[in-house]
């Protein structure tokens, strides 16, 4: 049975007061809190196992290498990647996307080429592509969305005919909560022979991910948004792509042989992992994956959906409430503004009442421009949030709105 109280006990950080009020943590789309098992795993690594990996022949190095590679296997299994070497550890989604943009640039981008993103992307899935394509006087194609925050698939179909070299799409929008029909969009792109990158930053903690079923060419994610430590994330890529892609960074670990005249590179996935990796965080990520897997995932999803549904229903009763993002398929978060009230004012007051919500453009300025607003207040949920927290939050928003009107 799903018992939110026993889950909360595994997240000691939640049990504190801010400004003398109980903390309500609704900023999970920015980063989730970490369960004790994850914290202890990383601590244990530094207490007992810390060692640089892959190169040492001594006992500790071999143990650490084995643990790190097991973490890779666990992550591969979690997203149903066929091979563990198709998982590259990175610092997170942003680094994964920069890796892809840079590597593609050297692999196949030519003068005047196009790449495609959507109107609801996080800056991390926009700026690397934009900067890269601008260097080649190319064009960034943008899939438009409607006022509910739903992508226009007819327009997408038309844009595919312009033959972008790659398409990169958020699985779940960090601002609107929209779950995009990625499987369908991947199939459509593949009909034109175009590879697809899926930004899974917001989806790993909430949805079951199956990269083979989805048939994406690349899937990128951050550990810290899925109960794992900061500083670790990943990139899944199909072997055929990773094999032909040039390295992104150079240095230790990623080389095979080096002379002053020439360097040959290591095999997958090490070719893409230059320098000493964040081993402790990777082990924390593995533990986070196992933590998620240990839950009744259907029950967790139902609980998170109920939090969202309750928040939307109750908030809707507040005068002047305007939701930003009302897609039929949504996950994990509600974004809103109230008529006549600046989101920063609202965010400031509810912060003083103990609520950690995000206020601003959420690193998606084009989305704010589309809706003609300076920002939103965003409440994003995780498995440890409760219906009671949602209820007091709605009351706090109402009180703040009354103060500010």
């Amino acid at each position: 049975m799903f018992d939110v109280q026993s889950i909360r006990q595994q997240f000691p950080v939640l049990n504190q007061q801010v400004y003398g009020k109980p903390l309500v943590y609704f900023d999970n789309a920015a980063t989730t809190q970490k369960p004790l098992c994850v914290i202890e795993r990383e601590r244990d690594y530094y207490l007992n196992e810390n060692c640089n990996i892959h190169r040492g022949v001594h006992y500790l190095s071999q143990k650490a290498t084995e643990a790190y590679e097991n973490a890779r296997i666990t992550v591969a299994r979690f997203i149903n990647a066929p091979e563990a070497h198709e998982i590259v550890f990175t610092r997170g989604t942003t680094e994964s996307l920069n890796l892809l943009a840079t590597s593609f640039e050297h692999l196949f981008i030519e003068e005047g080429d196009k790449v495609m993103v959507t109107a609801m992307e996080h800056h991390s899935n926009l700026v690397p592509w934009q900067q890269m394509i601008q260097r080649h006087h190319g064009e960034l194609l943008v899939v438009p969305m409607d006022d509910n925050g739903v992508l226009d698939l007819n327009a997408y179909q038309d844009l595919l005919k312009e033959q972008p070299k790659v398409v990169s799409i958020a699985h779940i929008s960090n601002t609107l909560g929209t779950i995009n029909p990625v499987k369908e969009m991947i199939t459509m792109a593949h009909q034109y022979g175009i590879p697809v990158v899926i930004d899974g930053a917001q989806s790993m903690a909430h949805l079951p991910i199956d990269v083979q079923d989805m048939d994406c060419d690349f899937y990128v994610f951050s550990g810290h948004k899925m109960y794992a430590p900061m500083g670790i994330g990943g990139l899944y890529g199909k072997t055929e792509w990773l094999e032909k892609m040039p390295p992104y960074q150079f240095g230790g670990e990623m080389v095979d042989t080096v002379s002053f005249e020439k360097t040959t590179f290591n095999k997958l996935p090490f070719k893409f992992e230059a320098g000493t990796p964040n081993v402790g965080a990777a082990l924390g990520l593995e533990t986070a994956v196992k933590f998620i897997e240990s839950m009744d995932r259907k029950a967790v999803a139902e609980h998170e959906d109920l939090l969202l549904k309750t928040a939307v229903e109750r908030l809707a009763q507040i005068e002047g409430m305007r939701f930003i993002g009302q897609a039929p398929h949504r996950s994990g978060l509600v974004s809103f503004v109230i008529d006549g009230i600046h989101p920063y004012d609202l965010g400031t007051i509810v912060d003083k009442m103990g609520f950690a919500v995000r206020t601003g453009h959420h690193c998606a300025e084009p989305v704010m421009t589309y809706f003609g607003i300076p920002g939103t207040v965003r409440a994003s949920f995780a498995m440890y949030n409760t219906i009671e927290e949602v209820e007091v939050f709605v009351k706090a928003v109402e009180r703040a709105a009354n103060m500010l009107r």
Partner: protein, 141 residues
């Protein structure tokens, strides 16, 4: 009143409230009272950099004293700049430049604002000081 006297009375107003919600309520009320800036000053040139919400500030020199006006699209921000306007408006450039701003610490405003808002507050003070400096130079000429 001198700058110091105005600052002392603001410190006194703030000390009446223990709860930061009440202090915010006061800032919000001040924001609603803030005299609105003339439309011609609501442009890029009068925007203060470093604030997360938009803040416009104008200043004019009359009989050796500076008169400030401001506006913001966020009401708490407007309350904060109005607080500064109350302190500085109607004062001479030299007095403004010589002002001790430690009253902001006394009312606890800086520490209770988020770091981004606190930066915004400092930007506002800096902008007002820059006006004072410019007017002072003008006078010397």
């Amino acid at each position: 009143m001198t700058i110091k006297e105005i600052q002392d009375s603001i410190v006194e107003d703030f000390s009446m409230f223990d709860d930061w919600m009440d202090r915010y309520a006061m800032l919000i009320e001040m924001g609603k009272e803030c005299p609105i800036i003339d439309d011609q000053y609501r442009d890029e040139k009068h925007l203060i950099n470093g604030c997360q919400s938009r803040v416009w500030l104008s200043a004019e020199l009359k009989d050796g004293k500076i008169y400030f006006a401001a506006d913001s699209d966020a009401v708490i921000t407007k309350g904060i700049i109005y607080l500064l306007i109350k302190v500085f408006s109607g004062q001479t450039p030299s007095d403004i430049l010589a002002a001790d701003m430690s009253f902001l610490d006394e009312i606890g405003l800086k520490e209770h604002l988020s770091p981004t808002r606190s930066n915004g507050l400092l930007s506002m003070v800096k902008q007002m000081m820059l006006y004072a400096e410019a007017f002072k130079l003008q006078e010397v000429k």
